[in-house]
């Protein structure tokens, strides 16, 4: 069991590292959102799954799941808002256009 937990937590951390790397290296806002939401959704989910067997009681486990669900909802909404704002600011920017990188640097 403990090795499974190590594996899950390690995979979760890997997703966070990859997500952060994407946030730093990707060219424009849309791709950055794409990268960082992987960290929030999958990374935190894997961390939570890895920590679940260590919980002492059912309410504690439920609280962990609740944290993950709340972060899921919040990060989805926040990513949508950021993407919406960028799209409204420059309507011709296609989600995969790398040329918009310079004007969204601010």
């Amino acid at each position: 069991m403990i090795y499974l937990q190590y594996l899950l937590v390690g995979a979760g951390c890997l997703f966070f590292i990859v997500g952060t790397l994407g946030l730093l290296r990707f060219p424009d806002t849309f791709t950055r959102i794409h990268a960082i939401t992987k960290a929030d959704n999958l990374g935190l989910g894997l961390l939570m799954l890895g920590l679940l067997p260590s919980t002492q009681s059912v309410p504690q486990a439920l609280k962990l799941v609740l944290i993950w669900l709340l972060v899921l909802a919040a990060s989805a909404t926040a990513s949508y808002l950021i993407a919406h704002y960028v799209k409204a600011k420059s309507p011709d920017a296609l989600p995969h256009a790398a040329e918009t990188a310079s004007e969204e640097q601010d």
Partner: protein, 308 residues
């Protein structure tokens, strides 16, 4: 392992503090400040002061961060960025403060009475099981009474300064485009926030929590609703003003009504102390939430919608 975590935390705090001062963009500074607040909350947890951690996360990082972001939005409109090259004086002040703190750590006087023991001894009389709640609302309730009075005065001053401005913004920003996703998310989250605020208040009698933390969470929920274009403060403005003062008034009424029975000001009868404290805390939570929210609500960031 713990040492590694602690040193990472300390280094992270220093890095965030440096980021606040040295980033060129004001927005970045504020984001770093919020990150600094969250790391500071974690530090309080590591120092086994979860009450402080709750307050720091809710007020220091959350509400102050929102207020600062709001102020930046306001500054951008007026293009009046303050010059950021005045770093010598703050640096000198910081060094002087740090030196004083280090010196005072060395020359720490011996406490004449041991307060923790005193609190632990009289905890059964206080009506609650958590020492910090006992200190705040029973042994040193003077402080709490004055704190809520100060908060109330701050909110009233903000309202007085801002009355005309808020009135103009109110008519102009009528039913702007409410984002469906944000509105849906916020309306589903609001009951959860309310539940957590009440839980933190209730938990305050036997574990970290209490009126100020609960009130800050309540205020955060109200700010979120406000940002999502639910103009809750418009539905009942007179009720809002009453609610601002309710906590202080009820606290004062309870504090003075015990004098009828011949007790000194602010001492509760021991049999009912627990109920008295819970009642006062409930009203305080409500008022603190409203006061913090109305401080945010009074900030002149409201001008933004009708400029666009």
């Amino acid at each position: 392992m713990q040492f590694a975590f602690d040193s990472m935390l300390g280094l992270g705090l220093l890095a965030c503090a440096a980021g606040v001062f040295w980033s060129r963009d004001l927005f970045r500074s504020v984001v770093m400040f919020i990150a600094f607040g969250l790391l500071l909350a974690l530090t309080w947890v590591r120092l086994e002061a979860p009450d402080l951690a709750l307050a720091e996360a809710a007020i220091g990082a959350g509400l102050t961060g929102v207020l600062l972001l709001d102020a930046i939005g306001h500054l951008r409109q007026h293009k009046e960025h303050s010059p950021r090259n005045h770093w010598l004086l703050p640096l000198l002040c910081c060094i002087a403060l740090a030196l004083l703190l280090i010196l005072s750590l060395n020359a720490r006087p011996e406490a004449s009475i041991s307060l923790p023991e005193l609190v632990a001894e009289s905890l059964p009389e206080s009506g609650v099981e958590h020492p910090i709640t006992a200190v705040l609302l029973n042994f040193r309730s003077y402080d709490t009474l004055l704190e809520i009075a100060v908060l109330l005065v701050a909110a009233v001053v903000a309202m007085a300064l801002n009355d005309g401005l808020a009135a103009t913004a109110r008519t102009s920003a009528e039913q702007s485009s409410r984002d469906p996703v944000l509105a849906g998310f916020t309306s589903r989250l609001a009951p959860v926030i309310l539940l957590i605020a009440v839980y933190v208040l209730w938990a305050g009698s036997y574990m970290p929590g209490g009126a100020f933390q609960g009130g800050a969470i309540l205020a955060a929920g109200l700010v979120l609703l406000k940002l999502a274009d639910f103009h809750i403060e418009r539905y009942a403005e007179s009720l809002l003003r009453l609610g601002l003062a309710l906590g202080f008034l009820v606290f004062l009424a309870v504090a003075t009504s015990v004098m009828i029975g011949g007790r000194p000001f602010l001492t509760y009868p021991e049999a009912f102390a627990g109920q008295f404290i819970l009642f006062i805390e409930a009203v305080l939570t409500f008022s603190i939430g409203l006061i913090l929210f109305s401080l945010f609500n009074q900030s002149p960031g409201q001008e933004v919608p009708h400029d666009n």
